[in-house]
């Protein structure tokens, strides 16, 4: 119950018919931490995100951000999906400010800050480009900038790099880490990729399905900043095999 916890889930559960999507889950996420969630399809990762973001109403339990109950309230967190969801008729700048435009009157300040964010994180030369002219990696950067621009402390990232090729993906991971560090946000990150989870996170939550629940909570004690070398270190591989064991020991053949 320390004040350091940004997000607290208390006995959160959700079923769809007879399927238990998420069974009684309680969880604390420390302010400023990077927490990944790995697990097979159907383990309730997305249901969890949908409830935290306010899209879905839990059957029981509550969601607290900074000790405020935000259950079923939208507009409290930043949310980024695998698809970049950039609107083609707006420029990079217009897409970054889309969140503001969707929720209130767009101010000069919003735009000024969007320009700042874009310039700080390497999109300065593309401010007036339309999304169609950007590569997949660039588009994901814009999508993340849009998520950042709304100033929510908690960011939910749902497999944002799932559609990128390995090379771009690694660049994006490093970039994400630098953005996270500089912007001092708290990140909940869903991924299928165990390497990605270990590489990025302070903590990895392993989930299993039927019923969806958190089966392991592993603190990743790897030095930051993390580099290419991190990926091949023995400690890294130790975490990796621990997680893989959890995943494959309990699910599947």
């Amino acid at each position: 119950m320390s004040h350091q916890d940004l997000l607290r889930l208390e006995a959160l559960r959700k079923s769809f018919g007879s399927t238990v999507a998420l069974s009684d889950t309680s969880l604390n996420v420390q302010r400023g931490s990077f927490v990944s969630i790995v697990g097979p399809s159907g383990c309730g990762k997305s249901t969890l995100f949908n409830m935290i973001s306010g899209l879905e109403r839990p059957d029981g339990g509550s969601i607290l951000i900074d000790d405020r109950d935000v259950t079923t309230r939208t507009g409290q967190v930043g949310y980024m999906m695998q698809k970049d969801l950039l609107v083609p008729w707006r420029t990079v700048l217009g897409n970054i400010t889309l969140g503001a435009r969707l929720t209130r009157r767009l101010t000069y300040d919003d735009r000024r800050r969007a320009v700042d964010i874009a310039q700080r994180y390497g999109l300065g030369d593309f401010l007036h480009h339309y999304p169609m002219a950007l590569s997949g990696g660039m588009r994901q950067r814009v999508a993340l900038m849009r998520t950042l621009a709304l100033d929510h402390e908690l960011l939910l990232l749902d497999e944002p790099f799932g559609a990128l090729d390995a090379q771009t993906r690694f660049e994006m991971q490093q970039w994400l880490l630098s953005v996270w560090r500089e912007s001092e946000r708290t990140v909940l990150f869903i991924t299928h990729d165990v390497d990605e989870a270990v590489f990025l996170s302070d903590r990895v939550l392993v989930m299993s399905s039927r019923p969806g629940r958190v089966v392991d909570d592993i603190t990743i004690d790897l030095e930051r900043p993390r580099t290419l070398g991190t990926l091949t270190s023995a400690v890294f591989n130790g975490y990796k095999s621990q997680i893989l064991e959890h995943l494959h020991g309990r699910v599947g053949p």
């Binding site: 899209l55 507009g75 967190v77 949310y79 420029t91 929720t103 320009v115 480009h129 339309y130």
Partner: protein, 265 residues
């Protein structure tokens, strides 16, 4: 970009010359009598020779086309939005809208004249009748096919429905809207002419042609057709230019005007 425009203009010119050439060839080699089909040049001469009469009639037909087109476009957009927003209404209206298009316009013209008289009224209704349908269908289609995840995202961000509508759904429907408008633009002048044929008070382009036809003045008949075609093409090109201007993201890398943050270099 410039050279592509040049090539397009050149291509259009070439096809124009080709069509005129074929026309000339058929009339000359086929030894077609001038009161059956004129030579192209005679048709143009018929236009220039009676320009003082034809020009006001052309403006009048253009006015019918434009007014009707605008009415149809507005109606089409409103129908598209309302039908998108109220599912029940869509179920009720869609069959009716399809029926409206199945009615032969010519059959529609006579009762319209009885109700609305001989001036602008029936022409505007006929043109709007033709134009609104493709607009409605395309706007509805555009609104229906907005990425559902984008709408979810808007909800997550805490956007109210009408803001989501204005910021996401409306712009998403702009490209389809123009598809509908372009179809409407090609048919609009036809509607105006059908209206004029059904009834004209005083004179009209259709009546001028009718008289020329009765007088076996084929050059003037073809000349009037050329004018009608020119009205249709001009209006279509105007809509295409408008589309170019309104949807820069479909062909440009960067936005045209740099607003805030232009000093980023």
């Amino acid at each position: 970009m410039k050279s592509r425009l040049l090539r397009n203009v050149l291509g259009s010119l070439l096809s124009f010359v080709l069509v005129m050439g074929i026309w000339q060839a058929i009339v000359v080699w086929g030894q077609v009598a001038p009161y059956i089909a004129p030579r192209p040049l005679d048709a143009f001469r018929a236009i220039s020779g009676d320009w003082s009469t034809l020009w006001p009639l052309t403006l009048w037909t253009l006015r019918e086309t434009v007014y009707g087109f605008l009415a149809g476009a507005v109606l089409g957009v409103v129908f598209g939005i309302v039908m998108h927003k109220i599912a029940m209404l869509q179920r009720v209206l869609y069959p009716i809208l399809i029926v409206t298009q199945a009615i032969p316009i010519v059959a529609l013209a006579a009762p319209l004249v009885l109700m609305l008289g001989f001036n602008l009224g029936p022409k505007i209704v006929i043109v709007a009748w033709i134009v609104f349908f493709p607009v409605t269908v395309n706007v509805l289609d555009g609104l229906t096919h907005v990425d559902g995840d984008l709408l979810t995202l808007a909800r997550v961000l805490g956007a109210r429905r009408w803001r989501t509508f204005l910021v996401i759904e409306v712009p998403a429907a702009i490209a389809p809207l123009f598809s509908g408008l372009k179809i409407g633009a090609t048919y609009a002048v036809t509607g105006a002419i059908i209206g004029e044929m059904a009834a004209s008070s005083g004179s009209s382009l259709a009546l001028y042609q009718h008289n020329a036809n009765a007088n076996l003045n084929a050059a003037a008949v073809y000349g009037t057709t050329l004018i009608m075609t020119a009205i249709g093409i001009s209006w279509f090109l105007l809509i295409v230019s408008l589309e170019f201007w309104a949807t820069p993201w479909r062909r440009r890398v960067t936005a045209r005007r740099r607003r805030i943050g232009g000093k980023h270099k």
